[in-house]
Structures are given as C-alpha cells and as structure tokens.
C-alpha cells in the first residue's frame, strides 16, 4: 500500500485543519468559561474612626484566591485619587472621574468611605455595586456627641462628659497607669480637631447633618445594587473599644488588661481593709485602752480618777496615730470608690449616647428580699447618713417590717451597637439582600479578615465576603475565584 504525493498533501492539510479546529474549539470553550477579574474599589474610613482596609484586598486575592483587582494600587490608580478631606460629594466626584478605564467596579467602603461610595452610586459611572461596611448611613450620634458644640463655650457633650468625670476624680489619683480617661479624651480631641470632615457624619436631624440628609433623599439613594455589613458587640467595653483605636494591630487587649488588673487590685484592697477594720474594731487600740483601764481598776488604786489623767496623757500619741492611720485608710477607700464610679459614668454615658436615637429601654428583674436595697434608700431619705445609730436602727426596723416578697430591680437595656454606631445608624433600606451581621465585632474590627468574634473558630469577615462574592445573593457582587 502506498500513497501518492497528492494524497499525502491532502492528508497533511486535513490533519492540520482538524488540529486548528480543535485548538479553536478549546480556545472558544476556555473563553466562554474563564472568570473575568473583578475590579474593586476599597475606600477606608477616616483614620480616627477606621483602621482602613489595610491588607484585606491583598489577602482576599492571595490567600482566599479571589480574582480581584484593587484599582487603587500599584498598577492601578494612585492613592491620591481618594481624598476624603474634600468631603463626601467632592471626593466622590473626584474618584468617579477616574473610573473610566475600569469596568464593572465593585466598591467596598468602611465608615466614611461608604458615604463616598454612596455619593458615587448614581449609576452614571462604572461603579456597578457597593458594599457598605460599618457605614454611618443614618449618621452617628456618637460623632455628634464628640464634636457638636453645645452651649456658649463651644464644648461638645463628650468634652463636657470628660470634664465631669475629671471633676469627680480631681485630687484622687485614679489612672494607676491605665489612663483610660486620658485616652478617651485624646480620641475625642482628634475628632473635634477634624470637625469639618466628621460633621459630614452627623445624623440628618442634627444641626449640620446636611450630608446624611442629602444622601438619604429618595433621588440620591443608590441607583446600583448595594449591600450592608453591620457590626455590633455583645459585650461593649469602653476599654476594648479604646484598645482597638490605640493598638489596632495587636491581638492583646492591653487597655482592658490594665483596667482589669486595677479593678482586681482595688477589690482585694477593699476586702483587706474591711477585714482589718473588723479586727481593729474588736481587738485594736480601743481594746488596748480597755485593757489599760482594767489594769487601773484592778490595781486597787483608791482614786482611779486621778490615775486616768496620767493614763490618758500616755495614750494620746497612740490615739492620734491610730486616728491618722484610719483617716488614711478611709481616704484610700474613698479614692477607690470614686474612681470606680467615675469610670463607670464615662462608659455609661457613651453607651447611652449611642442609644439616644432610640428611646432608652428599661427592663426589670426579680431580686430576693435578703439583698434588698430599698431599706438603705428609705433610711437614707428619712434619717440620712450623718448619724450612724439612726441609720442603723432604721435599717433594722425596715428589714423587720419588710414583707418577704421578692422586689423588682430596674435596669437599662443597651441597643446593639459597634461601639461607635448603633445598629439602625448602619442600616440602609433597599439592599440587594438582608444586612449581613458581623456579630461581636466593634467598629474598628469590621475591616479585619482576622478578627474572630468571641468563641468563634474562624474569622467572620472572610465568610461574609464569601457569601457575597459567590454571587448567589446577587450577581452584581460576584467576584470569581482564581
């Protein structure tokens, strides 16, 4: 069997053609199924109220394998295109003017960055969807407290709060190295120093709340799909909140640790003092004085009264020393109790301010009669504290006459908040799907891929992005895997 040259040529051409067709088919198939890199725009919040996205976009790409491109990065736009200092709308216009080269941009904003995204979300540029994470969509009562001047002296409510707390502790060294009030004061001062930009986060119903008012007008609501991530902490602690501000990259809660160390030291000191005081009341100086008197009376002195003067003279210094020592002990107890109350007032006032947008809710819980404080309150009102015997008798009489019915104690109920924004302030209606809750995450933790809330085994934000980026809720947020 042999082939003529012509037939060989035709066969070779056919093989070549079929190979080309095969390559073309494979290429087309690949083109029809290859993911397109998603352009993303990550906008940080203001430095005083946001840690920023930092390495989150990089780690989503390199560790979690999302095929995304951060358009403000090396190879993209310079960082100078995002200028929050211009204000929400001007910063939005500036950024929007640079989007022309990038299609189908997914914007992810934290804090003020989300407001800028909202300023861009009018459907006239290449921004195709936005994620609003910890964004003051309804403004921030906390910011209002921090910067809004009240009264003629121009101080904000937060500055008044700090002054009040410092007045309570004036002359009583409370900081013990933790400087909680100082740290809070420094943060408030930073907010106040940048009042012009932070005023754009004021609630719509506050004087100067123009930006939020404008953004929330019907015509200015996002014209592209939007999603809300909102944070809240189960156990708000002002020390943890401050730690997030001042130690943003630490896994250790230094400020809370310091505060707890102090608190524990104070508690044990109170226990020690109470024990020693009880002992002293029975066996202390006055017991020695009684012993001295007993010795006098058993010595068979015919006129003990004259001996008493000598005895008294010999005891004066001991008594004065004892009185001064008790003064010091009592002053220390006074210091501890005042410092504790002042720190609590700082934390309570801040929490209540965050809840101010809503009515303050109260609840009641049953309390057994044996621990009832109503007798103390009744006696404080009827006899006061400046006669211990009257107070004591009143307490005993009151408790004797009490009915053994458990009474109710009223407590205040906290609204969900992330330490800076309450839940409602972070919401925006019309989202592509229900708001995603970053539980047990404070405002500064909302941008971290590594924050694990409470007892969780895994960080929460990566899961949130996975749910968003897989496109199952809305294709507008789809970010393919590499």
């Amino acid at each position: 069997m042999y082939y003529t040259t012509k037939k060989v040529f035709i066969m070779k051409k056919a093989v070549l053609l079929s190979n080309l067709l095969l390559v073309l088919a494979i290429s087309l198939h690949a083109q029809n199924n290859s993911p397109e890199t998603r352009n993303t725009l990550w906008l940080d919040g203001l430095s005083t109220t946001s840690k920023g996205w930092d390495e989150t976009p990089r780690d989503l790409k390199n560790i979690y394998n999302y095929d995304l491109f951060n358009i403000i990065s090396l190879g993209g736009l310079p960082g100078s295109v995002y200028q929050p200092g211009l204000g929400t709308f001007d910063a939005a216009d500036e950024l929007a003017s640079h989007l022309g080269d990038y299609e189908n941009v997914l914007g992810i904003g934290h804090d003020f960055g989300g407001l800028v995204l909202r300023g861009m979300a009018d459907g006239t540029n290449n921004l195709s969807a936005i994620v609003l994470c910890g964004v003051p969509n309804q403004g921030s009562k906390g910011i209002e407290m921090a910067i809004q001047s009240t009264g003629v002296d121009g101080k904000s409510d937060a500055q008044w709060l700090i002054e009040g707390v410092e007045a309570i502790t004036d002359g009583y060294d409370c900081e013990d190295g933790c400087n909680m009030v100082d740290l809070f004061s420094t943060w408030i001062d930073e907010l106040e120093a940048n009042e012009a930009i932070f005023s754009e986060m004021l609630p719509g119903d506050a004087p100067g709340g123009d930006v939020i008012n404008t953004l929330n007008q019907e015509a200015n609501l996002p014209q592209i799909p939007h999603a809300v991530f909102w944070g809240s902490v189960e156990e708000f602690s002002i020390t943890s909140f401050l730690n997030s501000i001042y130690f943003p990259n630490s896994n250790v809660d230094h400020i809370t640790q310091c505060y707890v160390d102090n608190l524990n030291a104070w508690k044990e000191e109170i226990n020690d003092e109470r024990r020693e005081e009880r002992w002293d009341a029975v066996f202390g100086l006055f017991n020695d004085i009684k012993g001295g008197i007993r010795d006098l009376s058993t010595e068979g002195i015919s006129n003990p009264w004259s001996a008493i003067s000598s005895f008294a003279e010999g005891t004066i210094e001991s008594v004065r020393t004892w009185l001064n020592a008790n003064n010091e002990h009592d002053a220390e107890m006074e210091r501890i109790l005042r410092c504790e109350a002042a720190n609590q007032l700082l934390a309570i006032n801040w929490q209540l301010e965050l809840m101010k947008a809503e009515s303050v809710e109260t609840g009641t819980v049953q309390q057994g009669w044996v621990y009832d404080n109503t007798c103390e309150d009744e006696c404080a009102e009827t006899v006061g504290y400046s006669n211990w015997i009257a107070f004591r008798q009143c307490i005993v009489d009151c408790e004797d006459n009490q009915e053994p019915i458990p009474n109710m104690v009223t407590y205040y109920v906290t609204e969900e908040n992330d330490g800076l924004l309450n839940a409602n302030e972070q919401m925006l209606e019309g989202g592509a799907f229900p708001p995603y809750h970053l539980f047990n995450t404070n405002h500064f933790q909302e941008t971290s891929l590594y924050h694990k809330p409470g007892e969780a085994l895994a960080p929460l934000l990566p899961q949130a992005f996975e749910d968003l980026f897989d496109g199952s809720e809305s294709a507008a947020f789809c970010v393919p895997k590499q």
Binding site: G164, I168, E235, S237, D253, V260, E268, D272, E276, R278, W279, A281, V282, G284, I289, K290, G292, I293, R294, L296, I308, A312, T315, I316, V319, L323, A331, M333, L337, R338, A341, L345, I348, N349, L352, V365, Q367, G368, W369, Y371, N373, E376, A380, E381, G384, S386, W388, I389, R392, Q393, I395, V396, D400, P404, P406, V409, Y411, Y412, V413, T414
Partner: protein, 295 residues
C-alpha cells in the same frame, strides 16, 4: 503563761466574735440554700496552717442620690449607676503561720441575687474573657481565672495584709470586757485624750466619740457599750461635710446571746457635676455560712 491550746481556743472564740454567723430574722424565711460549688477547693490544712476560714460573702455596689427624694433630678447615666451590682464569693482561706495566705475563691450567684440579662447596662462591663470566675491564692500570689480557666490577672498579697495576719497570729489578744464603772473610767479617759463624748439620743448603749483635728477635720466613732467595740466611723472634712462612713450593723439576738453581725457598709459622697445632686457611693457586704478551724 497560757499554753498554745488555750491561746488557740481563745483565738477561735475571738474569731467567732469577729465573724459571727448570719441568721435570718424571720421564722418563715431562711438563709440562701447551700451553694453548688463548681470547683472543689484543693487546698488543705497543713502543719503550717494556723487558721482555716470558709464563708460566703455578698457585696452590693451602687450609687444613688444621698437624698433619695432627688432621684428625679438625675441624668439617665446617673440612674444607671443606681442599678445595684452584686458579687457573690465562696471563700476557702488558709492563713499560714507566717501570715501568708492560700485561698480558693469562687464567684457565685446566690439565691435571690438578680439575674440581669447580657444586654443590661450596668456600667461595669468587662469582656467575659476578662471576668473573674475563680481566684486561686497560693503563698500570697493571687491568680484570677475566667470561666474558661484562662488566667486573666495576677495580684499579690500586700505586705500590709501579711503583716496584719502575722500580727493577729503572733500577738495574742483577748477581748477585754469592762464593767459599767470601768466603762465610765474609759469614757473619761477618752475625754481627757481629746474626744467629745456623748451618749446617743437614739440608743443609750452607744457612746458617740468625736475627735476634732487642728485643721478642722473630725472623726466620729460610735462605740457600742454592750458589744464594747467600735461599730462605725464617720469622717468629716474641714467644712464639716460628711465624707466617708464605714459601719457594721448587728441585729439583736435572743436574750443571753451577743448581737450578731449582719453586714458592713462603706459610703462616700461626691457632688455630681452633671446633675448637681450629691451622690452616695455605697458598697455593702454580708458574710454568711462562716466556719472556722484552727490547727
């Protein structure tokens, strides 16, 4: 010369006087039920242990207007401070013969304590990871543990506390009880020392002893002539304002028995810069179910 057994017996009696058992005043009500203790203490009496004490202590802390009729003047935050916060502890404590203590202290919820929900705003919020669930004291070193068993804090028994225990263990003292005549001698001696003495108009068994310092400050002591001990102390500043109160409350016992210690109270004051109301900071404690052993 007393022998060591007599000394220890007297010491036991003295301690029983100092920390007396609490009992309910009403027949139809009883002390809180015995506690469910989650962690059995593993400390035991050793040869070097001089004293073993076990008891429950409940402390209530809250801040209210010194004059409760001014409650309506308070800010919301000040009202929150008025919500009483409770801490209950079960304490097993060994005092060694050098004054250094070993102890196991467990935070407890006692019957009758209010069970606030997590969302309750109380002002003492600490992340649960830092909340003390148990304290172990070994050779004077306090280790604070959270509910997961992680160590959250370390403190040390103060030198003053060690000295205190050293003193009460090594310096034997017996409570002196004076006759009525001797009591009169003592009051006179105290007047000679500089106290102003006045029998309380409300309780003839109590002598109020006031000492005025040169700078205008004053200390007022309440001396119970039946108990023959100081039951309360008040401190006044140079302007005559009451600054601090520390007092023990006893309740009468059936005839023949000494009055029983019920509770202890610390009270101090500050003028609120927010509402202008004079506020009273209160910390009240009661000790219950006390047992004492000597070695």
């Amino acid at each position: 010369m007393r022998n060591i057994h007599q000394i220890k017996l007297h010491y036991l009696v003295c301690c029983l006087i100092v920390f007396q058992l609490f009992s309910c005043k009403k027949d139809e009500l009883t002390d809180p039920e015995p506690l469910e203790i989650n962690n059995i203490s593993d400390i035991e009496m050793r040869d070097s242990t001089a004293l073993s004490i076990e008891y429950d202590i409940i402390t209530a802390s809250y801040v209210t207007p010194a004059d409760p009729s001014e409650r309506d003047l308070l800010t919301d935050a000040e009202k929150v401070l008025g919500t009483p916060k409770y801490e209950g502890r079960h304490v097993v404590q060994m005092v060694n013969d050098n004054g250094v203590i070993d102890a196991d202290i467990e935070m407890m919820n006692f019957e009758g304590m209010p069970d606030y929900p997590k969302k309750a705003l109380l002002g003492d919020e600490i992340p649960s990871a830092f909340e003390t669930d148990r304290i172990e004291v070994r050779a004077g070193q306090y280790q604070f543990y959270n509910s997961s068993g992680d160590k959250v804090s370390t403190q040390y028994q103060s030198p003053e506390d060690i000295a205190f225990f050293n003193s009460i263990l090594s310096d034997f003292r017996e409570k002196v009880m004076l006759s009525n005549q001797e009591m009169d001698y003592m009051i006179t001696a105290l007047e000679e020392i500089g106290f102003e003495a006045q029998t309380s108009a409300l309780d003839s068994q109590v002598e109020v002893l006031e000492y005025s310092f040169a700078d205008g400050r004053a200390t007022k002591l309440y001396f119970d002539k039946q108990l023959q001990e100081i039951v309360a102390r008040e401190q006044y500043d140079a302007e005559g304002e009451l600054r601090f109160v520390s007092g023990f409350i006893h309740e009468p016992s059936p005839s023949g028995e000494a009055p029983k210690l019920v509770s202890h109270h610390y009270i101090t004051f500050f003028d609120s810069p927010f509402s202008g109301v004079k506020m009273a900071i209160k910390k009240s404690s009661s000790i219950k179910n006390l047992t004492i052993q000597t070695n």
